[in-house]
Subunit: 127 residues, 2 copies
């Protein structure tokens, strides 16, 4: 049984940080990636069960997806279904920092208002 | 049936951006949050089914979790199990930018090497 709360500190500029094992995650793998200018993930891949969500935090680059190329810039976010054939690279003159979240497709039942439970009788010390 | 690939562009400095509906996510809700200096989420909450993962991207603040207070700074990452009673605030003199990922607890079966499938016969145009 893992603890209710588990915390760690990343170097936000590391080449790659993976959170699943670091935080004992049970619902996702999350990676933070920094590809330097001109670098590319050297293979095309798909997934069996997992949907991926990407969040481009800074820099720019390109995504190869199912035979097409999409340009990427800071603020871009995208979802790829498991069968999508994908590869990513940084721009030739600019690195790219992005988060990638893997979750099992169709695994989320409720969220936010419908999964959240208000703790009416409990206040944080600043309230 | 949703598309294999879906993309949008966020304002990374918006108060809150939610990705579930924007990208037709089926395995997670992901929010990007910017609390200005001194701001706090005005309630303590827990969850029914969902584990949450937080990634502090910049700034600083505090997390209330099950009766304790943890300080937060850029690079901090943490997991909270569904039953954890939580609230977050920005530091009095500093905003905080963080991602929050909600996924169903125990929903991830395989990931990365074991869920990924190499597309051996397919190359991105830059290879």
């Amino acid at each position: 049984m893992s603890e209710v709360f588990q915390k760690a500190t990343l170097d936000l500029n590391a080449a790659r940080s993976e959170l699943h094992d670091l935080l004992s995650l049970t619902g996702a793998e999350v990676s933070l990636n920094n590809l330097p200018a001109g670098a590319a993930v050297p293979f095309v891949h798909a997934h069996k069960q997992n949907e991926e969500v990407y969040i481009v935090l800074s820099g720019s680059g390109e995504l190869y997806i199912d035979g097409k190329v999409e340009s990427l810039k800071a603020g871009d976010v995208f979802r790829i279904a498991p069968q999508g054939r994908r590869a990513i690279r940084a721009a030739a003159a600019d690195g790219i920092k992005f988060l990638c979240i893997q979750c099992a497709q169709n695994s989320l039942k409720e969220y936010t208002d419908t999964d959240g439970v208000m703790c009416e009788n409990e206040k944080a010390p600043w309230h």
